[in-house]
Symmetry: C2
Subunit: 427 residues, 2 copies
């Protein structure tokens, strides 16, 4: 990445989740992991619940979580130890490169946390706790009802029985739960889904990014709509970059998009915000909708530098070395005096933060490379796939975040567009 992290800064980070069951620990863990992986860091989650299911089966009743049940307690400690072992091993497996491990379990006692911190200290790995606390009990109830009946622990069980069992499980943990207040450790405490956040002893580049991300995280499931601008003159000529206006086909798409928004989207999402880049083709596209929109320089297309205005054929002729290099490693390839996909990821970081923060639906009218990067983030695609994702022209893509994952729907709004027109930057 263009911003390498100073050698003196933290390169190995163990994030340790803390909290009673159904506080969103796994939700937060997955979101942090997705964000860090998207930024290009090696990231892995170690979920102790999964170890338990593999090692002891997934059909354990709530009494398995009774701290006064010594056999079960020993079994659960064994899972914790195995997960820690694997984490330790993984964190020492990739030499000096940046690695972020997330240890996902309740870790609800001081003792357990001291044990984990000690293991990290001995390894020379920075540890940082993320605790989720709900003072408002309605949040927990809603979480249990919304997610726990689908847990692998309750496959084939009656939902009401599952809920009742899970609430018992929570009770067992409550007996020994100690909120984190260890002043000498790094921690973030997220109270009532971020209404209040306490940050203690957090220093360093990576930990600071994680905290900032957590502070911007929302759980509401508002959709994000993305679309490329209508066909531009450069699209039609197969030229890279530029700042051309829309063709007749492109203008027609702007009309279709407007109709689609007014007929469909705006009814259910009257507070929808519209964001464009600062280039003519996205502005022209959004203008047709007849609503205010934000122009955002961070959403401008990948800068093609010296290849700007060329067709790919010309680029192959005039910049043959570049052309080959780009084919070989499109993620890292940087246009001469232009940008790479990795540059684009850093440039789009504030956009991603803003998308996280939004409480209402958003429509992003932008460009193929830019939307690939956003799409990769939202749908959690592996880093290296990002430059080859297909973002067809004249199509709205609806992305709805789910508790785990993201629903993707395509709305092609034009039958006439030649298939090749969706291929610029796509080769």
């Amino acid at each position: 990445l263009p911003l390498s992290i100073p050698a003196s800064d933290i390169r190995k980070l163990a994030i340790i989740m803390v909290g009673l069951p159904a506080r969103g620990k796994s939700f937060i863990a997955r979101h942090v992991a997705r964000y860090m992986a998207w930024r290009g860091h090696s990231t892995r989650i170690f979920n102790v619940g999964n170890y338990r299911r593999v090692m002891y089966g997934s059909d354990k009743p709530h009494t398995f979580f009774d701290p006064k049940n010594p056999e079960a307690a020993a079994a659960r400690k064994m899972c914790a130890r195995k997960a820690l072992e694997d984490m330790t091993q993984w964190l020492t497996s990739e030499g000096d490169s940046i690695q972020i491990a997330i240890y996902d379990a309740t870790n609800s006692t001081k003792e357990r946390r001291a044990w984990l911190k000690k293991a990290c200290d001995e390894l020379g790995v920075r540890s940082m706790f993320i605790e989720s606390v709900c003072r408002d009990h309605r949040i927990v109830d809603a979480n249990v009802r919304a997610t726990k009946i689908f847990s692998p622990d309750y496959v084939g069980k009656d939902p009401e029985q599952a809920i009742s069992d899970f609430l018992h499980r929570i009770k067992w943990y409550e007996e020994s739960y100690e909120e984190i207040e260890e002043d000498d450790t790094s921690y973030v405490k997220i109270i009532d889904v971020g209404k209040k956040v306490v940050v203690n002893n957090v220093y360093g580049y990576l930990p600071t990014r994680v905290v900032f991300f957590c502070m911007n995280m929302r759980v509401s499931a508002r959709p994000i709509y993305i679309t490329r601008h209508g066909q531009s003159e450069y699209n039609a000529l197969g030229k890279i970059g530029g700042n051309s206006g829309l063709t007749e086909l492109g203008k027609q798409y702007a009309q279709n998009l407007s109709k689609f928004l007014h007929d469909d989207i705006l009814r259910s999402h009257p507070h929808l915000s519209i964001w464009t880049s600062t280039l003519r083709r996205t502005i022209q596209t959004a203008k047709a909708i007849g609503r205010p929109f934000l122009q955002w320089g961070s959403l401008d297309e990948i800068e093609a530098g010296e290849a700007n205005g060329m067709t790919y054929e010309e680029m192959a002729q005039k910049l043959p070395h570049d052309f080959e290099e780009r084919k070989r490693n499109k993620l890292c390839y940087r246009y001469p005096r232009g940008e790479s996909y990795q540059d684009l990821i850093l440039r789009l970081d504030p956009v991603v933060m803003e998308l996280q923060r939004q409480e209402h639906a958003v429509l992003v009218v932008a460009h193929q490379a830019v939307l690939r990067v956003l799409f990769a983030y939202l749908t959690e695609r592996p880093h290296h796939e990002c430059p080859n994702l297909n973002i067809p022209l004249h199509t709205v893509i609806k992305l709805t975040p789910m508790a785990y994952g993201c629903e993707v729907k395509y709305y092609p709004l034009d039958d006439n567009i030649p298939a090749t027109a969706s291929m610029d930057h796509g080769k």
Copy 2:
């Protein structure tokens, strides 16, 4: 600014400082104000202490701050009211544009804070409190000794008497101090210079930026060194942009810079980090030093787009409209397919955050426009002056943050460089 803030988001923000005397309230206020002003927002501090000095004189002994002294309490309330009035008036004076007011006083009781919040609510202005708390008393002692003897309240006084009087003043405030814990208000509580931070009920783009900035703020006075690359081939030809290497003169500067670092700077700052852009001329310059350095795309020179590779004379001929436009408003002027200074400010925001976070000295080897933007931030120059600041070639500038302001020292390392060579991008 390219990122306009959604119309629905907060456009008027009143930041209200909270804390006992000598907790760094004015320090934080000035830093937040500087950052927001640099981003281009209209920002003003209302310091109640200044109102007191103007309205009642600056020679008041500590008994003036005794809450049981009714006359003095009434006088102090009068100052608070006058400052609030002025703030209210200012916040309604610039129509719909973004405005950030900072109300700097102890505001150490619940009652006082409720009074201020109510005034903001009635005005339709979002209020947000920033409290500084020191649990570690050594911090306060050091602050009093370092800054209060220079306070306008103690001009001509014996330092030991000043300190003793000020410590008495603190005692009076301590009698009625109530830490902020009002759950229904927006606040950031900074404990022990950021060791711990509590963020409550903070939503919206501007408040989130303020919080993130506060979390990255350091008070250590490590210097920041900035220098442009050595003279490049394009510099010598008077051409804009490009990615040329160093001339012989430029290479000589790289040597001089290296010598200067090893002979002078590195002795007192052995942990110095070196940052460059990703362009050849800064990399070549930094390489001569023989220490590891970070390449950072955000530090690349302003993108001149279609004017790239032209001389200013050519630009005047080929892009006459642009040439005039740039002369007229260099801050907002955006090169066709390139960037404006305002774009640059947004691009450099993460760099500024990183600079804030650093505990050790940093040397930034970059470019004229980029360094202008950083220099403007560090020395608190008005937004509109930024594009015309003079950053001479072949000169190291040392910037040392002081409690209030920044010390600037120039180290020209080359007698031979023709004066005009420092003029690219400078016209």
